[in-house]
Each structure stands twice: as structure tokens, then as C-alpha cells.
């Protein structure tokens, strides 16, 4: 247990190691640790922000979906209405067309009947004149009685 120069040797050793640590060990490790701490803090903050953004996006997505759903139902509604409208228009058109055709057919029928009647009347008149001519050839002068005959035709 002698106190001797070892004490000085130990002080020198300590100075050497502390100096080495101060220069080459402590600063890089502490810098790295601080940087990592900052990085982790950044990462956590970014996570928080991302979570918030996600929440906002979810809300926005929900509102967009709602809006789209509303629009879709509006469109369907309008489509339905349009369909009904088209249907009723078509029905009206059809009714009108039918009426027009019926009217036209009626008119045609009428016209044909008139024609037939006219023709019949002519034939009857001719026949009547021929018959009368044969019966009363001598006494009846066609020229004096033509007027009378036409009056007769018109009455048939």
C-alpha cells in the first residue's frame, strides 16, 4: 500500500481517456441521440397529423357520398317523372290519332255512301226514264217532261 508514482501515472491515464472521450466519443453519440429524438418526435407529430387528416377525409368522403346519394335519388325521381310524362303524352297522342283515324274513316265511309247513293240515284233515274219512255213513248215528249223528271230524281 505504497503511495508512489502510480498515482501520477493514473492521473495521466485518466486525462488521456477523458480527453479522448470528450473529443471522439461523447459528441457523435450525443448528436446521434438528439437527432434520433428529434426524428421520433417528428414522426409522432406526423402520425398525429395523418390521423387528423384521415378523420377529415372520412368526414369529407361521407358528405360526398351523401350528396351523391341525394343526387342519384333526384335523378331517379326525375327519370320516373319523365317516364310518366312520356307515357301520358304517348297515350294522349294515341287517343288523338285514333280519333283522327276514326273521323277520317267515318268521312270516307260517308263519302263512299254518298257516291253510291248518287250513282244509285242516277241509275234509278235512268231506269225510270227508260221505263217511262217505253211505256209512254208516244204521248210523252222527253223534252217537255225533262224538267219534271229531274225534279223527280232529286226527290229520290
Amino acid at each position: 500500500m505504497n503511495i508512489n508514482m502510480t498515482i501520477i501515472g493514473q492521473i495521466i491515464a485518466m486525462i488521456v481517456f477523458v480527453a479522448f472521450c470528450m473529443k471522439y466519443i461523447w459528441p457523435p453519440i450525443i448528436t446521434a441521440l438528439d437527432e434520433r429524438r428529434a426524428k421520433i418526435a417528428e414522426g409522432l407529430a406526423a402520425t398525429d397529423e395523418a390521423a387528423k387528416a384521415l378523420e377529415l377525409a372520412n368526414v369529407e368522403a361521407a358528405s360526398i357520398t351523401d350528396k351523391a346519394r341525394g343526387q342519384a335519388s333526384e335523378i331517379i325521381e326525375a327519370g320516373n317523372q319523365r317516364g310518366v310524362q312520356i307515357l301520358s303524352t304517348a297515350k294522349d297522342d294515341a287517343v288523338a290519332e285514333r280519333e283522327r283515324q276514326v273521323t277520317a274513316a267515318d268521312a270516307e265511309i260517308q263519302q263512299s255512301a254518298n257516291h253510291a247513293r248518287e250513282a244509285l240515284r242516277q241509275s234509278v233515274a235512268t231506269l225510270a226514264i227508260l221505263g217511262a219512255e217505253k211505256l209512254i213513248k208516244k204521248e210523252i215528249d222527253p223534252k217537255t217532261h225533262e224538267q219534271l223528271l229531274e225534279k223527280l230524281i232529286a226527290e229520290i
Binding site: M1, N2, I3, N4, M5, T6, I7, I8, G9, Q10, I11, A13, M14, I15, V16, F17, V18, F20, C21, M22, Y24, I25, W26, P28, I29, I30, T31, A32, L33, E35, R36, A38, K39
Partner: protein, 281 residues
Amino acid sequence: MASENGTLTSGEYIRHHLTNLTYGQNPDGSWSFAENAEQAAAMGFWAIHVDTMFWSFFLGAIFCWVFRRVAKKAEAGVPSRGVAAIEFIVEFVDTSVRETFHGTSKLIAPLALTLFVWILLMNTMDLIPVDIIPSLAMLVGIEFQKVVPTTDINATLGMALAVFILIIFFSIKIKGVGGFMGELTGQPFAAEKLHWKIIFAPINLMLELVGLIAKPLSLGLRLFGNLYAGELIFILIAMLGLAQLPLHFGWAVFHLLIVLLQAYIFMMLTIVYLSMAHEKH
């Protein structure tokens, strides 16, 4: 331990284990290795414990090498396990320093780290079975070998003295010579009037000097005492024959605590003393 000259008495065995490998100047002026404890004692101050210096330098170099490797690899990314383990120690020391020392100093944190790891490594040498390294040394012809530097009072007092020099240096740097002297003479007995101040000054100085000198002494002797006693008990256990095995294990487990605790205490007290030196009253 068995030596070439037959069996040793237990007293000789213990004595052999507690003698450093000493190289120094003999009283007749020649330089040589001491062949026994008496010759080593006769060398006085001009001698050096080669084993203490070798092991403390060796362990300090291991500290520097391991931590330097990590310092080179350290980056802000994800650390590997080894790097993380070393960074854990650094962070632990850094927290200890921040909690105790509130000033700014580029020296104190690296100093605390160096002291903690270095002393821890030196103390851990105590867990190597006491006969292994001395026996190997003897095979290559080295008579004495004390492998735990912290069981050498020169090593612990050397470190304590370095801390003491730093205490004085920072006290004067922060407070100035006048402020430091005022601290030494102005308390614990404080007075308003000048003549009382003058009367109290020498009393205060004596009390404060005792306190000041007690710091490095207690720092060095505490570490030395704990480790020396631990080593001594390891040596005593080693003489018990087969019964030493469970005892050795038990004491080693207990000693693990002392190894770690003493390194921590030395570091913390260094920080506390230096932060006291930084404080103005």
C-alpha cells in the same frame, strides 16, 4: 497459490496476492523490479505499479475502442442492438449529469461517462477468479500480479486527485480567486461587521479546508476500501478448498452489486462536487 518454493502459509498467500508488481528505484540508486513487498516499500515514491498501470490502461483502451466504434456507427436511424446497448449507457450518464448539474460544461458529461465505464471495467476484473491471471503471469516469470487496478490506492486516489484539481479549477474559473477564497473563509460562521469577519476567517478556513480535502480523500478511499475488502474476501474464500465454490459464487453475486454501485457512486459524487464548484453562494 502454489509457487516454486513449495507450499505457502496462508499469510504468505494473502500477502503475495496483495503485492503489486513494482518497478522502481532501490535505496542504493539502481532501478529494478521489487522482489518482495519490503523491497517495494523501501522504494518510496520513485516506483510504479506496473500491473496497475497496465490493467488500467488496457481497460481504458478497451473503453475507448468499444465506444469509439459505436460513436462512428451512431446515426439518427434505427440502431443495432450493440449500438443501442452502448447508447443506453451514454444516455444513462447523460440523464444523471443533467439531473444534477445545471450549468453548461463540455467536460463534465464525458468525464462522468469515462469514469463510470472505466471504473466499472476495472472493478469487474475483481470477478475473475483470483488465481487465474497471477498463475499465468507466474508461468511467464512475473512474480506479482494484482489485476484489479481499483484495489490499488494509487489508482483510486489518482482519479480522486484529478477530480480535486478540477474542483479547484472550476471554483476559481466560475467564482474567481476572491470568490473562492470568500467561500472558504466566509462560512459557516458569517458576520456583518468587519472585525468579526476577520476573527471568523481562520476558523472558517480550517473548517472549509477540511471539507474540501475530505472530498477527494473520501472519493478515492471509498472506492479503494470497497474493492480492496471485496478482493480480500475473494482471496480468503479461495483458501477454503472445495468449500469455496458455493461461497465464491455467493460472494461474486453480492460483489456484482458493489462493482456497479461503486462505479456509479464515484461518477455521481464527481458530478455533485463539480456542480457544487460551479454554484455561486
